[in-house]
């Protein structure tokens, strides 16, 4: 930052007063989008692992508990003998009750309703199980048994998450482009407003790069001020959203847990905005002055 006024009186320039607010807004949007993309990335990975990692086997309900237990045991035996199955565990009745609680209320399991049995199957990594064949084999042993690989719903959610990430990247790109355009317009306006001071600097021997440096440093100052304001605003918004999400407590909502590198990337946004603004202003001035005779 300048210890004293630059030679070109850019600090009094009304044409660049909007720049910190504009850059601030852009960094705010970019920070939210980047944070959202990071959260979605984590969630998509979790969902992705769910597709390939687990299968649920649904065992038809039996009128007697002993019969239900026999069916589950028979299927467990079959599953444990199947190559590629890492583990097969029957969901206990209390676990089943907990799953049904949001829909049927507490005590649903003890109400005497015929409930299907569930078996959680963990599949070995890189295994290529033929789920259609497995499903047929299990149905032969216990008619009415169904295998749910979650592939359909999880696949759609993962695809949605990836699309949202791509959209976020596109918007960040557009935001950066708009910021560069604003800096270029501001630098051009500054060149026009301060034509006389610039001519004086040229006549006393200033090179184009010296004059461009003044515009570049001014753009850096304004972008840093706006950028950090935007970042603080974005962090406040993210904290508020995290607090809101805790209140909802939904396991489907993506969690925003950032690694040190991701935090560093987020905190570097104002610095990146400053660097982009400074370079854009510098290049604009050098190119414009270079076209003079």
């Amino acid at each position: 930052m300048f210890a004293r006024d630059p030679d070109v009186p850019l600090r009094r320039d009304t044409t660049s007063r909007f720049l910190p607010w504009l850059i601030g807004l852009m960094v705010y949007l970019a920070a939210l989008l980047v944070a959202g993309a990071i959260a979605l990335d984590g969630a998509a990975d979790r969902w992705d692992r769910a597709i390939t990692g687990t299968v649920t086997v649904q065992v038809p309900a039996a009128s007697e508990a002993a019969e239900a237990g026999r069916r589950v045991e028979a299927l467990l035996d079959l599953l444990r003998q199947t190559p590629g199955v890492a583990a097969a565990t029957a969901v206990p009745p209390e676990g089943l009750a907990k799953l049904l609680e949001p829909w049927l209320g507490p005590g649903a399991a003890s109400a005497g309703l015929p409930l299907p049995g569930l078996i959680d199957v963990r599949v070995e990594e890189r295994s290529r199980i033929d789920f259609a064949a497995l499903s047929a084999k299990l149905a032969e042993a216990v008619p009415g048994t169904a295998v749910d690989t979650h592939e359909l719903w999880a696949g759609r959610i993962v695809a949605l998450a990836r699309s949202l990430q791509a959209l976020a990247a596109l918007i960040v790109g557009l935001v950066a482009g708009a910021a560069v355009a604003a800096v270029v317009l501001s630098a051009r306006a500054g060149l026009s407003v301060h034509r006389e001071a610039i001519e004086l600097l040229h006549l006393i021997g200033a090179e184009d790069s010296y004059i461009a440096g003044q515009f570049g440093r001014q753009a850096l100052d304004l972008a840093l001020v706006g950028g950090f304001l935007g970042l603080f605003g974005a962090l406040a918004t993210l904290l508020f959203l995290s607090w809101m999400a805790r209140g909802i407590g939904g396991s489907l909502l993506p969690e925003l847990t950032l690694t040190a590198w991701q935090w560093a990337g987020l905190l570097a946004l104002p610095l990146v905005a400053g660097a982009v603004a400074a370079v854009s202003a510098w290049l604009t001035v050098v190119r414009t002055l270079g076209r003079m005779t």
């Binding site: 004293r4 006024d5 030679d7 009186p9 600090r11 009094r12 006389e196 001071a197 001519e199 004086l200 600097l201 040229h202 006549l203 006393i204 021997g205 200033a206 090179e207 010296y210 270079g290 003079m292 005779t293």
Partner: protein, 237 residues
């Protein structure tokens, strides 16, 4: 015995010309010519008045000399360099050897008097303490040691003119050009400024003073370049 080399001698003589104009014409944009067939030269350490009525072309001629404009035709050599087709990137080092006192001073109001005077050194990348020392000394020399931290807007016309002179000479230029330096001040102050320019001329600086103040010119014995209707008349000096 060494032989006389006429070509080298002629080249040496040409190099001695601080300013050389040969059949120079000048126009602004696509307008008509404001200077026609101007030819003259200035020897190192000389002092010339550039005289003529307002609008005769004095400022345009000075503008060509301080590399503020390119000629539309002819040849201009400044400090031994042909500037007619000099690339833009080569102009700054040459401009640093030319001091200019503008008619309207061209001081930057947002900077202090000291910073205005130090501006040419700042542009050249001098360290701040050296700039302050040099600029302070020059301001004392022009009698403004007490006003160095004041903004230019608080100075009188004569004071501004002296600040402009201090700024023009801080790089120890070989050529000093002054456009109507006494135009905005009274006679007493005008004479004082002329003495300052004379002092600089004694330090081997080539000085050109453009003025339409014939009374002032008459008080000095220096040669005159007379401009009328965009043409340079005979040099009476």
């Amino acid at each position: 015995m060494p032989r006389f080399d006429a070509e080298r001698a002629a080249e040496g003589w040409r190099r001695l010309r601080v300013v050389r104009f040969e059949n120079v014409g000048m126009r602004y944009g696509l307008g008509s010519e404001v200077l026609h067939d101007v030819s003259f030269h200035l020897a190192p350490g000389s002092f010339h008045f550039l005289v003529g009525n307002s609008g005769a072309g004095k400022s345009s001629l000075l503008r060509l000399m301080y590399l503020g404009h390119r000629p539309s035709r002819g040849l201009i050599s400044i400090l031994g360099q042909d500037v007619t087709a000099l690339p833009r990137s080569k102009l700054p080092p040459l401009r640093r050897r030319i001091g200019v006192v503008f008619q309207d001073f061209r001081l930057l109001d947002h900077l202090s008097v000291l910073d205005n005077v130090g501006l040419p050194l700042r542009v050249m990348g001098y360290p701040r303490d050296k700039i302050r020392t040099h600029a302070g000394e020059l301001l004392k020399w022009v009698g403004l040691g007490e006003r160095m931290h004041a903004p230019p807007s608080t100075l009188s016309g004569g004071e501004k003119q002296r600040v402009a002179i201090a700024r023009a000479v801080i790089t120890k230029p070989s050529l000093l050009l002054a456009d109507e330096p006494t135009g905005n001040i009274d006679d007493r102050m005008g004479m004082r400024l002329m003495r300052l320019l004379q002092e600089l001329n004694k330090m081997a600086v080539t000085v050109v003073v453009a003025t339409h103040n014939e009374g002032l010119v008459a008080r000095f014995e220096y040669p005159r370049l007379r401009v009328a209707d965009g043409r340079l008349g005979p040099d009476p000096g």
